[in-house]
Symmetry: C2
């Protein structure tokens, strides 16, 4: 197996620190070994720190970010429940699909791809009908929009619904602040701003979400993602559910140490500073971010593809010539944007210098 050394500036995975790679190569212990149970405790504690929560039910699910999305929705929804889902990109769309598969009635609140959700639109639905759950994406990986949460969170709480936030791309990059922002359930992925390989999905459930779990009338449709069962493995009972992905847990444990050593505030500042640097460089190249600065996610910047430029050819050029991966557009934005991730360990000044120069040369090649 021969693998080139890529600089990962796409929508994830981001660059994984050698410390995390080394941790992952640690010989395995059993998933019920006392040593492993201690590692699980530390991972839970550290996840509470990055989520900004005191929630007991905070642990990584044994799947990627989408498994976390499904976990939160299928545990908190039952057939006939009414979910209000905010859609301004691929991941909001995916939430609708999952909620419908769980038998929920879904009302969509849409915004154009590249714009944030308007709280007034959410309010209109909440005032019109009873809603059980409101779900929204914090940083939309398909568009690069960072969604303001506070106003919507307050409205959702006032109307007695559960507030669910997708923090796949934001966690470890900007503050998620689960408790402060009145978020009832939240999920993330490991391969974005936590800079751990993909394969785990940290989730957290607050007291109101726990209460909803306890009130369920029927079993969660997924056995594998049944949080009540899984919490007995992560809790004091240590009851066997499924074999935890041990090596991935080693990796997450080390990745979380790195986040703690830097500190969440400094980490957010770094993401904001480096991202600004990148956007300034874009302007010098005559390129433009899709999202206005006010709503632009610092960790994932969508860049408009200029007319007459073949976006896929540019990505291939950058990958083959410079070993740099950037992403293409998805869904409505396919062919229209590049997605440049500056997430976690990938978020460095050196990487900005390299990707700007790579873009410059690629555009020059396009003009020939």
């Amino acid at each position: 197996m021969r693998v080139p050394q890529r600089i990962l500036l796409g929508p994830g995975p981001s660059t994984v620190d050698p410390r995390v790679l080394r941790a992952m190569a640690t010989p395995l212990v059993g998933h019920l070994d006392p040593v492993f149970l201690e590692i699980m405790n530390e991972v839970m504690q550290d996840l509470r720190y990055v989520f900004g929560t005191e929630n007991q039910l905070t642990f990584p699910m044994s799947g990627t970010g989408s498994a976390g999305m499904e976990t939160v929705l299928v545990n908190l929804l039952e057939p006939g429940d009414h979910a209000l889902i905010c859609v301004n990109g691929v991941f909001g769309t995916r939430m609708c699909d999952i909620a419908e598969r769980a038998g929920a009635r879904v009302t969509r609140v849409d915004a154009p791809w590249g714009a944030p959700i308007d709280p007034a639109d959410v309010k209109a639905v909440l005032e019109r009908e009873r809603v059980d759950l409101v779900a929204i994406v914090h940083a939309e990986t398909s568009t690069g929009v960072l969604q303001p949460l506070e106003e919507i969170a307050r409205m959702v709480r006032e109307h007695g619904a559960l507030f669910v936030v997708d923090a796949v791309t934001s966690l470890g990059g900007v503050a998620v602040d689960v408790d402060k922002r009145l978020i009832d359930a939240c999920y993330s992925g490991t391969q974005k701003c936590l800079s751990c390989p993909p394969g785990l999905s940290p989730v957290t459930f607050g007291p109101r979400a726990e209460e909803r779990l306890a009130r369920r009338k029927r079993k969660v449709q997924s056995w594998y993602l049944d949080v009540t069962m899984i919490s007995q493995y992560w809790g004091a009972e240590r009851f066997y559910h499924h074999t935890a992905p041990i090596s991935m847990m080693y990796a997450l444990h080390e990745a979380l140490q790195i986040v703690k050593e830097e500190g969440l505030e400094k980490r957010e500042e770094r993401h904001r500073t480096i991202s600004r640097l990148f956007c300034e460089g874009l302007a010098d190249l005559g390129l433009e971010p899709l999202v206005p600065e006010a709503y632009r996610s610092p960790m994932l910047i969508t860049v408009k593809v200029p007319d007459g430029v073949d976006e896929a050819r540019v990505r291939r050029f950058i990958l083959n010539r410079f070993n740099i991966e950037i992403g293409g557009g998805l869904g409505d934005l396919k062919g229209k944007v590049w997605r440049v991730g500056l997430m976690g360990s990938s978020c460095t000044e050196n990487n900005v210098i390299l990707v700007l120069e790579a873009l410059r040369q690629a555009l020059e090649a396009e003009r020939k």
Copy 2:
């Protein structure tokens, strides 16, 4: 993170070869990188070899063995379908739970824990009523029974039902022979006889299962485990579904090389020889396997706990004194057996010598 060097002789994970650990520590590439797509192709090809199949739809799901179980059942069952599930341990029981959550009507065929399923019992149900799917566990990890499959497979095919086999613990240890044995869908885990860390679940779907997928009236209840969507990522389309667990795929790729280098036949012979050696040693200690030789799975041996012996204290003694992990009983067998895994890289003569001596000393300590 300080982790002791354990000798893993429990029900999984088994010892992971340093080559696999090193592969897992390889720097990441993107999940749509041409280099990664090539690795995916090789993994699919090598999985076909270990499953003994030509099935196109053969790939690892992004979850542990139980995710594979759920994948097969929720994709092949729709509400109202009739599933016949063979139950002689924890994993058969789990299949019933999952099939019921998928809305299927479940008929159980039971055998005592420690005995195989009697084909006559399956036949009786098949002749009495229409059955859509029959599911059975090849090697029951909770009891150590290796189930003969041929006779049941033929009956299932004659009656036009789909034949589903759980090969979590058997794959890479004894022949699974998916095509030869008329298995329509099969799933496994990586942390047993493949000796790869837990986190992926290889699955395979044959032509009759594919045909059933195509005939579905409603969406699969799980988005994350929707095989039709996932096959578009693993197939020629390379359509993005979720971010594959890249490092785990590196590990599986390397683990499969090791299996191929040894060859499946030699590997099965090794498991059978080493297992026999262990059982001979047990007899010298006055210990007895739960399962008669004819149905005993070579990779996982359940050993009866003698009267007056504290089984948990014995396991703790062996773990703390010798760094050897063996498993306790589950469900009906809790407190009554130890489970000794001799799987993949853990299946060596040296490990047999060590675990027998550890058991000898532990029993001596118990007698004091």
